[in-house]
């Protein structure tokens, strides 16, 4: 059973560029959440997708957007990259029942460096 997968593993971009990160959830999961983890800090919630819609959003600007596909996989897009967007981006998948999502499983992350 494949766990959560993310691509790419590493990415280097220049300020002002746009980036797309991808996530495939664990088999049987229908909910995908994205997190940003800066060096030395805990992961910060960006948003969560369920039934192809954004269900919850953290305190991130509109430059951060996402999408969920019918097969439950998801993309995170970041526009107009800033140096401060350099971080480890983590995807987590879970199953949902009503408004509650259950145990979350994390992928290995994508390390984004903005120069």
């Amino acid at each position: 059973d494949a766990g959560v997968t993310q691509s790419p593993t590493h990415l280097i971009k220049t300020r002002g560029q746009q980036v797309t990160l991808r996530c495939s959830p664990k088999s049987g999961h229908d909910t995908v959440s994205w997190y940003q983890q800066a060096l030395g800090q805990g992961p910060q919630f960006i948003f969560q997708y369920y039934e192809e819609e954004e269900r919850q959003r953290g305190n991130f600007p509109d430059r951060f957007s996402g999408h969920q596909f019918p097969n439950y996989s998801s993309e995170l897009n970041v526009n107009a990259l800033l140096l401060g967007d350099s971080a480890l981006y983590l995807c987590a998948s879970s199953s949902s029942r009503g408004l509650t999502s259950y145990e979350q499983y994390f992928g290995p992350g994508t390390r984004l460096t903005v120069t």
Partner: protein, 111 residues
């Protein structure tokens, strides 16, 4: 939203020692998870424990939801236990489906 406080922030122990990590949270929670982040950044699920006590080998966890805290116990520490331990509660109805991470406890086990 929920505030999460973990203590201690750093802990250095000799191999074989026992430790207790604490997580306090400011509001009622639906669920709570403990994770271990290894040096490569992978978050590894340890416990899914909204209440009560669970054990898995040398690790155990207790959540007392009514008093808004959770504890992670590590016994007979090994060097492979080194890393950062995160507590992540999921909020109540008003903030459903969003888990909030604490700032973590960095554990270093010396051989």
């Amino acid at each position: 939203g929920i505030q999460v406080e973990q203590s201690p922030p750093d802990l250095i122990l000799q191999e074989g020692a026992n430790s207790t990590l604490r997580c306090n949270f400011s509001d009622s929670v639906n669920n709570l998870q403990w994770f271990h982040q290894n040096p490569w950044g992978q978050l590894i699920n340890l416990f899914y424990i909204p209440s009560g006590t669970k054990q898995n080998g040398r690790l155990s966890a207790t959540t007392v939801a009514t008093e808004r805290y959770s504890l992670l116990y590590i016994s007979s520490s090994q060097t492979t236990d080194s890393g950062v331990y995160f507590c992540a509660p999921e909020g109540g109805y008003s903030s459903a489906s969003k888990i909030i991470f604490g700032s973590g406890t960095r554990l270093s086990i010396r051989p």
